[in-house]
Symmetry: C2
DNA sequence: CTAAAATCTAGAGTTCGCTCTAGGTCAACC
DNA sequence: GGTTGACCTAGAGCGAACTCTAGATTTTAG
């Protein structure tokens, strides 16, 4: 057992499938070319896993692959473009905040419906319910 | 100009495209069969628009079309299944809260990155930045 | 009356983000 | 040394949710 992680190790460590890892590589989402062993297998390092964990955060928070690729490209091309990286991250932060606000607004509507239905189920009050013939939403 | 809204009116009122409205109909997302005019055109009513606005909220908050179809089916089949509707809505509310929590957690990580880059850009501190050769994330 | 705009149906096409298959090679265990 | 299991490449396939096309009809405006 040498230094270096197999694709299976990385999959286990990141929650990504081996298919997804090969896909990420094709998409140019890594910070470096992943070297191969004598037998042609990918050999990863801990830093790759850390990067992938950040990628997971960015993906989970709704960043599209294309944007992630841009960010990876900026990081890959080394120091000097930190302003660009900052701008990209700030924009994503704005998007995430907007998405949270939107979800919170929807949540209030949905919770209102839940409360209405709870009252209906418990007290037989039908006011505010959607129904085809008798009562509306 | 009689009672009844054209598909274009409903598109304008809901923000959905006319294509999407026809698609929604094929998918069984309406609470009733939308009647046609003498010339074969869809004739909607205000209640359809209200339902679509709720659909928009549910869709924006991440409810899949399949679930929306189940909900529409419950409402369509009239009184008697309010417990099922309540359960469906509660489950969705749980999903939305979970999604908000996930986004909030990611937001903290992202905001941390933003702060790190801000410090770097303003003070030349590179600690905590991803870079290929010199400095890691 | 005519030309343009809106609508119709049926079905094909698109985008995103993987996921899976086929047909191998390579490595690890007993 | 053989057989299982992990891995390889290239490329096809998939599910979700629309979106668009084609070709015909209908409505509206001038």
């Amino acid at each position: 057992m040498e230094e270096g992680l197999s694709i299976g190790d990385v999959a286990a460590a990141t929650g990504l499938s081996v298919h997804a890892l090969r896909f990420f590589e094709r998409e140019g989402l890594f910070l470096r070319h992943i070297p191969r062993s004598a037998g042609g297998r990918r050999v990863y390092e801990a830093a790759d896993v850390e990067w992938l964990l950040l990628c997971n955060r960015l993906r989970e928070s709704g960043m599209p692959i294309a944007t992630l690729r841009r960010f990876a490209g900026l990081v890959r091309s080394g120091p000097g473009n930190e302003r660009d990286r900052l701008e990209l991250l700030r924009e994503h932060e704005r998007d995430v905040r907007a998405r949270i606000a939107e979800l919170t607004a929807s949540l209030e509507v949905i919770h209102g419906k839940v409360v209405t239905y709870e009252r209906h189920v418990e007290h037989g009050t039908a006011a505010g319910l959607w129904a085809p013939a008798p009562s509306p939403p």
